[in-house]
Amino acid sequence: MDSYQQILFKLKKYWSDRGCIIQEPYDVEVGAGTMCPETFLRVLGPKPYRVAYVQASRRPSDGRYGENPNRLYKHQQLQVILKPAPADVMDQYLGSLEAVGIDLKKHDIKFEEDNWESPTLGAWGIGWQVMLDGLEITQFTYFQQCGGIDLEMAPAELTYGLERLSAFLQNKESVYEIEWAPGVRYSDVRLADERQFSVYNFELADIDTLWQLFALHEKECQRMIDLYPDYEEKQRFPVLATYDHVLKCSHLFNLLDSRGAISVTERVGVIGRVRKLAVGTAQLWAAQEAA
């Protein structure tokens, strides 16, 4: 039986062998691997790109104090971007499952319609949730739009839910029982942050502070976006630094949401504020690439 980390090694090796750069996780909080600049910005424009990376996805509202066997505040995704999507992308994907030891002649794989949309990122795509014996293990998406921009070249995005996949492979009922490394369980590595962040996100985070932080990052991001048109040396302009503030806003929004600080009425408005920044930054990236 492969440990969690061995499964990761195998997947990374598999995609490395197929021409992907293996990146390391991005160091700003994100709700999904899609939000990392390696995906969100790189899919824009006409330059081909292939990358795979593991990304911790933080979803404060999904936290369960470490008590639910399948739900996590922070879970790990393997994100693969193939731009442009090769014609045999589905076969390559199925091959990756076989590479981690799933005998697809003994299991049931279905591709069920599931289109992906992120209102905060002005992004959407068409695709499937991949079901393995009734368990959703991957989101498979052909991106169509990002940051409100129609993509020049539709990339395929594969997002593996690593805990689910590993629990399946190791036949565990709870993600906490997954063997991370020989003799080390998932709970040994991660239970403490699940508990502590649940307490913080649901109970202790100071709402006023979060709102202030949100406003500060929003202001700084917008200031940068506004700076670009008159900035002389376009290639030096820090679009990536601007984008970090979008991510901060997005994460703060999620925190405020889990803290119960955003009424349903306000929600749409706040999502709109984040989207404005995401769209603005995406446009800078596209303009800079074209300049």
């Binding site: 639910n68 066997p69 399948n70 442009p84 999507a85 014609a87 589905m90 076969d91 199925l94 697809l104 002649k105 003994k106 299991h107 049931d108 794989i109 279905k110 591709f111 069920e112 319609e113 289109n115 068409i126 499937w128 393995l132 014996d133 009734g134 368990l135 052909y142 169509q144 129609d150 993509l151 020049e152 070249m153 539709a154 399946f168 009922e173 009424s263 349903v264 009425t265 929600r267 749409v268």
Partner: protein, 665 residues
């Protein structure tokens, strides 16, 4: 009989199951049209599909179009030899080959130009790429560059065979061939096919091309699994269709779960199985839910039981979630959640669900709802704040009702909340209790009134709040729930809303109840509120229609209506007895006055059919009147009096239906 001589297979990455049947229908029509437009015989033999292929087979296609002759007319004969030579030169023929065309305007030079019919293969090669890309999809995509072709999912191969030859073309970057593709894991990636052995070749590669065969295989598989175990599958036609189009080689498997989960409400268990896992649920003795489920795989078997075990594990996790929600939600009673509705938006401009709840409670009171109905109206939306409904949104209402029952609310109120989203479709039933009917009615009416008030009115296919369904639900509730409620006073005098309802009412009477459209128009023109009354009048008309008096009477009423309209006569002016001429005119008046009272009392007692029969009995008097009496008398006073009589008759007897709307033969 010879088999098909043309085959088209569009190989696609997994198409969403529900989009497949309409796409096939389009394919059939588009191909038939292609043949017609190109004067090619032949017909579509079948269309069918799996998630990865749309297939069309046609028979009797000819090698090509028939040769034909076109008459090209040239200059008039009178223009002489020079003109003829010029004409012949232009066509590349000699003057001797020209003929004469005689027309009423004179004689012309002409030429019988022979057109060689185009080869069918060539026509198909030209037309098929456009035909394939013309299939309409709810949401198409591109998969290479932005400027490239769009389809529901990427096209990966195309088989196009005419006889034994490939019809050569390229679509979306794919070149047609005779190479298909088998099941992703149980077939070869490249499968050479011929028309005659197409299905056979795919079957050998793990693909059952025909949906009917897959459907039958699922059902037979399930029957074999439950047989002898005292179990029964709960039939679910929609799920069966989904699974038929989600698989290329379906195989049913039986799984089980811990009987302890059966303590959860069956509604919750069934929803988890049905909507989240696409499982059929299974009942045991006495029709109670059994701790089993049927899943359908897209592979031929599960020899090691791995698939069953995997599905059981997923279901266990799902049921654990549901149990967790069921227990944790109950820590805060439904009745303690009303204030929280203030935080749940109904619609940005229309405020919260608390605002809506207050309006619905008032409306239920106004409609005469008892204390249970009012209680139900107050608590109906509270389950929107529960984790169970956040997770399983399909169970809204149902969950509220179940919690209320578990928390000691009255059965009547609990049942009303449980049912208050009903009817969910035209096929669905209306709520089973009066309180349920009233809460459902008030909830839907409130949504309609509020949305129309702020101008959120459905247009075309845009109906984000499903207002058509809500209005249809109101109509269904009033009619099938037999509620003695007048609709019009509840519509705030909003003319657009009244029109909107009138459309729904027409639709209901025609499509659901099957009344003829002119009968519906006639009855609704005489008034549509209250609805049960309109339906009773419709039944009376329907019953009277085949009788011999009906059509002539309708024709007479139409005539009266036209006469009054043409004369610009103002309704409501009384006629004067003294001015009536003895004979047919006075007789008509007497007949009318004699019947008037009877009709009114029959109608008051609800006997619309009886009233209609009385009205029909006025026919001989009307006929005689039109036979013998000239309405357009030279004396304007006499004329006006006659119009007044006819107008009174029309008004009085049009309360059941406006007969002038009846289409007579």
């Amino acid at each position: 009989m010879p088999g098909p001589n043309f085959l088209l297979e569009i190989g696609v990455e997994e198409i969403p199951d529900w989009m497949i049947p309409p796409a096939l229908e389009h394919l059939r029509k588009a191909f038939t049209k292609l043949l017609e437009e190109n004067r090619l015989r032949g017909k579509v033999e079948w269309v069918d599909a799996t998630p990865r292929r749309l297939v069309l087979a046609a028979t009797g296609l000819p090698k090509g179009q028939k040769d034909s002759v076109e008459t090209v007319s040239g200059p008039p004969k009178s223009a002489g030899e020079g003109a003829a030579q010029g004409f012949a030169r232009k066509l590349g023929v000699t003057v001797e080959q020209l003929e004469t065309l005689s027309t009423p305007k004179g004689e012309y030079f002409s030429f019988q130009k022979k057109l060689t019919g185009r080869a069918a293969a060539e026509i198909l090669a030209d037309a098929l790429p456009g035909l394939i890309l013309s299939i309409p999809w709810p949401k198409a995509m591109y998969w290479s560059s932005k400027a490239s072709a769009r389809f529901i999912r990427p096209i990966r191969w195309v088989v196009a065979l005419f006889g034994s030859k490939v019809v050569p073309f390229e679509v979306a970057g794919v070149v047609s061939s005779n190479i298909s593709s088998g099941h992703r894991r149980f077939g070869k990636a490249k499968v050479k096919v011929s028309i005659r052995k197409y299905e056979e070749a795919l079957r050998a590669n793990g693909v059952l091309v025909h949906a009917a065969e897959r459907r039958a295989k699922i059902l037979e598989g399930i029957a074999a699994l439950v047989e002898g175990r005292g179990l029964q599958m709960r039939p679910d036609a929609a799920l069966l269709e989904t699974l038929t189009y989600l698989t290329e080689w379906p195989t049913a498997i039986l799984g089980s779960f811990d009987a302890g989960y059966l303590s959860l409400p069956s509604e919750v268990l069934v929803t988890v199985m049905r909507h989240h896992q696409k499982y059929f649920s299974v009942t045991g003795a006495g029709g109670a839910l059994a701790p089993n489920f049927v899943a359908v795989m897209n592979v031929p078997g599960d020899p090691e039981g791995l698939v069953v075990a995997g599905n059981e594990r997923v279901l266990r996790a799902r049921f654990n979630d549901a149990r967790f929600f069921w227990e944790s939600d109950q820590k805060r009673k439904i009745s303690d959640r009303v204030a929280s509705l203030g935080n749940v938006t109904f619609q940005a401009k229309l405020g919260s669900y608390l605002d809506k709840t207050n309006r619905v409670v008032d409306l239920v009171k106004q409609l005469g709802g008892n204390e249970h109905a009012q209680r139900a109206a107050l608590l109906a939306k509270c389950d929107l704040t529960t984790d169970m409904v956040k997770e399983f949104t399909d169970l809204q209402g149902v969950v509220g009702g179940l919690y209320m029952r578990a928390q000691g609310e009255s059965e009547e109120a609990a049942a009303a909340v449980y049912d208050h989203y009903k009817p969910l479709s035209m096929e669905d039933t209306v709520p089973g209790t009066v309180s349920g009917l009233l809460v459902s009615l008030a909830d839907k009416l409130d949504t309609l009134r509020e949305c129309f008030r702020i101008g959120m009115i459905p247009s075309g296919s845009r109906d984000p709040f499903a207002l058509r369904r809500a209005a249809q639900g109101v109509v269904k509730i009033l009619l099938e729930g037999e509620l003695d409620v007048a609709l019009r006073p509840l519509l705030d005098g909003n003319v657009q809303l009244e029109e909107f309802f009138l459309d729904r009412i027409r639709y209901y009477f025609r499509e659901i109840r099957g009344f003829a459209y002119d009968e519906v128009n006639a009855v609704l023109a005489a008034g549509w509120d209250p609805l049960p009354g309109a339906e009773s009048r419709l039944r009376a008309i329907q019953k009277m229609r085949p009788t011999e008096d009906f059509e002539p009477l309708a024709a007479s009423f139409k005539r009266i209506s036209n006469i009054i309209e043409q004369a610009g006569f103002e309704k409501g002016i009384p006629y004067i007895h003294a001015m009536l001429e003895a004979g047919p005119e006075a007789d008509l008046c007497a007949a009318f006055e004699g019947l008037r009272g009877q009709v009114a009392s029959l109608r008051a007692s609800g006997d619309d059919a009886g009233a209609l029969a009385r009205i029909a009995s006025v026919r001989p008097a009307v006929d005689l009147f039109f036979d013998k009496v000239l309405v357009n008398s030279p004396d304007p006073n006499v004329r006006r009096n006659r119009l007044a009589l006819l107008s009174s008759l029309l008004t009085e007897f049009s309360s059941i239906a406006d007969f002038s709307e009846i289409v007579t033969s």
